[in-house]
């Protein structure tokens, strides 16, 4: 019963908007501050998704409100960092939502590839 309700909650978040999905993917590699998230999203998307400060913090605001990420008090290396920076990390539900989105996209991709005529054929 509880598991079913959790699955339903995860499904409520799908499909994830592009920026949100990329931020979650970036944070799965460890807690990060805004600039590090921006850089990781740039790398992950090979430069296709570029988040500006407003877009990034708008998405972070919603992710925090939805409980998919949380602010972290720990600093990876306090001596090398500005203490005013805020760090974020993925929550357990955020991990599940991210995994569910990956499954959704994988399944969509396999259906798209399996269709005839194949994509790219004329």
């Amino acid at each position: 019963m509880t598991r079913g309700r959790h699955e339903e909650a995860v499904g409520d978040f799908l499909p994830l908007p592009n920026a949100t999905f990329h931020i979650l993917l970036a944070l799965r590699k460890g807690e990060k501050h805004g600039y590090a998230i921006m850089g990781e999203v740039d790398r992950l998307s090979e430069g296709r998704v570029r988040l500006g400060p407003g877009t990034l913090y708008g998405a972070i605001k919603r992710l925090l409100a939805d409980g998919l990420i949380e602010e972290s008090d720990e600093r990876p290396d306090p001596t090398l960092d500005d203490e005013r920076r805020r760090y974020y990390r993925v929550t357990a539900i955020g991990e599940r939502v991210c995994a569910a989105e990956v499954d959704r996209l994988r399944s969509l991709l396999s259906r798209a590839v399996g269709r005839r005529p194949s994509l790219g054929e004329t």
Partner: protein, 195 residues
């Protein structure tokens, strides 16, 4: 010299961030400035950073203002529905005792609630969103999700009518109750309550 230039650019960007709604600004203005400063420091081209920052600012100001406006609309709608509920309870509960003054006051309350809510929502709808730009694909799931809760006072009202319909054996009250409960279900479904 370079750091002086950076300071000026930071001040300009800080001033531009004031376009965001206050709630968002209070929470994230310093973080956005920090991020912009990092971009200026580490990017090979400052004009490119500015160009991208201006585009981002236009989208985020518009999107945040839209969210803020939807939040205000939700509060107005909830307040109006609560007042109307109190008025309707007054009408229904006051009817058997026949107090004309109480009945008039209750009807007045309903009218004020409906007209006031309609006026405030209409005025809000007439205001253009900041810069007249859409949110650029940014979702507002949290705010839209809040709207589904307007179904709760509507359902409450339906249950009040159902109670009096059963208590007095009134088909009219029963019909109104069914209608209100159906509207409540539609609102709940329409705003993603049972997705």
């Amino acid at each position: 010299m370079a750091s002086r230039g950076l300071g000026l650019q930071r001040r300009i960007y800080w001033a531009m961030l004031a376009l965001h709604p206050r709630r968002f600004r209070t929470e994230y203005r310093a973080q956005m400035l920090q991020l912009f400063t990092d971009q200026l420091r580490y990017s090979p081209s400052r004009p490119r950073v500015w160009l991208s920052a201006l585009k981002d600012l236009a989208l985020s100001v518009s999107s945040q203002r839209l969210e803020e406006s939807m939040r205000s609309n939700f509060i107005v709608a909830l307040g109006g529905a609560t007042l109307a509920t109190v008025g309707l309870v007054g009408v229904v509960a006051g009817r058997p005792s026949g107090g004309l003054g109480a009945l008039a006051a209750s009807i007045g309350l309903i009218l004020v609630a409906v007209v006031g809510t309609a006026f405030l929502l209409r005025r809000s709808a007439d205001q253009p969103s900041a810069l007249g730009i859409e949110g650029g694909g940014m979702e507002s799931r949290s705010v839209v999700g809040l709207l589904k809760w307007t179904a709760v006072p509507v359902a409450g009202l339906g249950l009040v009518f159902a109670f009096f319909g059963l208590a007095w054996g009134s088909a009219v009250h029963g019909g109104v109750a069914v209608g209100l409960l159906a509207v409540s279900a539609l609102i709940w479904r329409g705003f993603g309550g049972s997705r």
